[in-house]
Symmetry: none
DNA sequence: GATGAATGAGCCTTCATTCAT
DNA sequence: AATGAATGAAGGCTCATTCAT
């Protein structure tokens, strides 16, 4: 049994090591094909020791998802602070699409979702993550509309826009795997994407 | 080695049996957790015999993807024959979103994409499939615009729209797994989705 | 998942092979120290195949206990058919004690009991086994007393005797491990044992 | 290597802590299933430090057996001092049987014996223990017979009785695990047990 | 075509033990 | 004296795949 006493600083650092290693291995081979032995080797520690830091393999992937979530939230927060959201977003679209097109990252994300649909514990993490992100997306939309105009719309409208915003980005992730050479299609996509964002972010 | 002389009618039927069984098992347990033994049992044949019909487990999933592709193409074709595409689509949105929200199907699709990113053979199938679907999507868009108006637009515009159409649907698939209780959010999503489709299908 | 369809004759024979091998390994190393790999090798088959025949390692030991039980019951049955039970028993005591003094067998028996106290499934088998043996012991005692005299005694008396008969034999098993050179003490024990059996089997 | 210079008082107390903890864990989970980590936690010290006090896990169990032995010897000694042994014993039978029926204790005892049959070091401890207990049992029997009458009997007779006395008690231990609900059968057993003790302790 | 017994590599996980501090 | 991080060997078990029949 792994105890759940306060993890020491050292343990925290070791956990990060494992998460980095695991993310790399998962990206390289997929969740199921990446062995604990490989992860351990990549992390520069023994397989046994990983189990002092994590409950089991599933626990590692859950921790990765949670860490990624925090990163996303921070990115959204930073983004919201800059103001002039729509302009910003329309301008940054190429970059955003590019980011979504890193196939290995995309694959890991897709796999996590697939896994979540059959693993209750992971599902909980994913849903919690998504709830946070969605909340931020709604705030972003409200901010972009102007709080005044936003308060005039029914909450369902905001919610629907946020969900579609999520679908749009997740859809790009999926397409980057589905569509051969997606990265080269960014110029074709960007203008269309721009118009779609306007539908979601403007009044 | 399995020879690939003319597959008999009987063999073709047996293959379908296996594909049906495998699809069911994959949906139930995921690709990696479904065992050949379980598939064989579900298909009502011996594990050994499956290897007379398919090269290996990967080969089965590739075949499933190909079969699904044909189905999708037929659905698009039927859809295009009905005319008044935009109206039709706007009307059928609730159903379409619902369809995308069958979590088990969604999970399998996501898993296939994840798998494809690391399995060249499967990637080839997925890419070929996507190419066909994208081609149909472009035709659909052109038809919806009216061939006249369509021919005025640069091909890149049509292509971008088709890709975003793909992203939209794949994004809904992903969201149905990511977002707890997505099925209940359809009323919130539908109107937003409607506007986005107009962006893609109308001039 | 192992299916529980009718086991074929072949499978039955293979099971016996495994049971023989496992009993040997367990006797040699103990239940926990005997590895499935070693059992497989001893049985002349692959580790994987054992799992087509048995659910898991625990299942093997349960099957061994059950097989041993049947053997004991047959021995008791044969014994009861000979008649003149007390005389027979008193005469065969040296042999019986000797049998109980095979240290390796004794150790396995003790370990099974210890294991049973923490493994519900094994406990069930052991208890069922013991119930059958106890029943035969009671019949043996009644037969030895003569059915007439037996029917005069309260059932509790018969039951108590049967339990003590069991304790006596199991106690010898334990002593054969506890007491260094127990096998050589048979001449010292036999006469005492004889008197104790008379207490249990005579009126 | 651990040196064995004069163990300090402190070390002795720490050893007792470990033995208490280990006995508890062994009773709860069995010798093999109890981990050093669990023992350390129960003892309120680090796993590493246990190895300053004991050679290894086997060493702990040996020490437990030795400590238990001393306890048993003290109990016998106290018992012998009371006089009127047979009466005392016959009176205390229910209690004695009850004591033997604590399944967890019984299981540990059985496991120790099983282990001893394959572990020379533990065997030595068990045999030494048994030798001491047997010696006391013989003294008890002689005392019960009256030293006069006892000296008339051949030493083998006394020895045989002592061994059977041991078998009887160990047999009850075994039965408490083998026989479901043994604790409730005490009333049925006690009178029979009484007669058997008379055979062993009376002339 | 078809079976299903059989293989064996490989996986996740546990745990006694060590050792730097 | 004491910690607890770290090791790494080994174990039970699964499963894609093969092959004799």
């Amino acid at each position: 049994m792994t105890l759940s006493t306060q993890p020491s600083d050292r343990a925290l650092a070791r956990r990060q090591q494992v998460l980095d290693a695991a993310a790399e291995c998962f990206r390289r081979r997929g969740f199921h094909a990446a062995s604990m032995a490989e992860i351990a080797k990549t992390a520069g520690m023994s397989p046994g020791h990983i189990y002092n830091l994590f409950e089991n393999k599933d626990d590692i992937i859950a921790a990765i998802v949670e860490r990624d979530c925090e990163e996303v939230l921070q990115r959204i927060a930073a983004f919201r602070q800059e103001g002039a959201l729509l302009q910003q977003m329309l301008g940054g679209i190429e970059q955003a699409i590019d980011d979504r097109s890193q196939v290995a990252d995309a694959a890991l994300q897709l796999e996590v979702m697939a896994e979540a649909s059959r693993n209750a514990k992971l599902a909980a993490v994913v849903h919690r993550t998504e709830a946070l992100v969605n909340e931020q997306a709604q705030a972003l939309i409200r901010q972009s509309l102007g709080e005044q105009a936003a308060s005039q719309l029914p909450p369902e409208e905001i919610e629907g826009r946020a969900l579609m915003l999520g679908a749009l980005f997740n859809g790009l992730t999926a397409m980057s795997v589905r569509h051969a050479g997606m990265a080269q299609r960014v110029p074709a996509i960007a203008p269309v994407m721009r118009r779609m964002l306007q539908v979601l972010l403007a009044p």
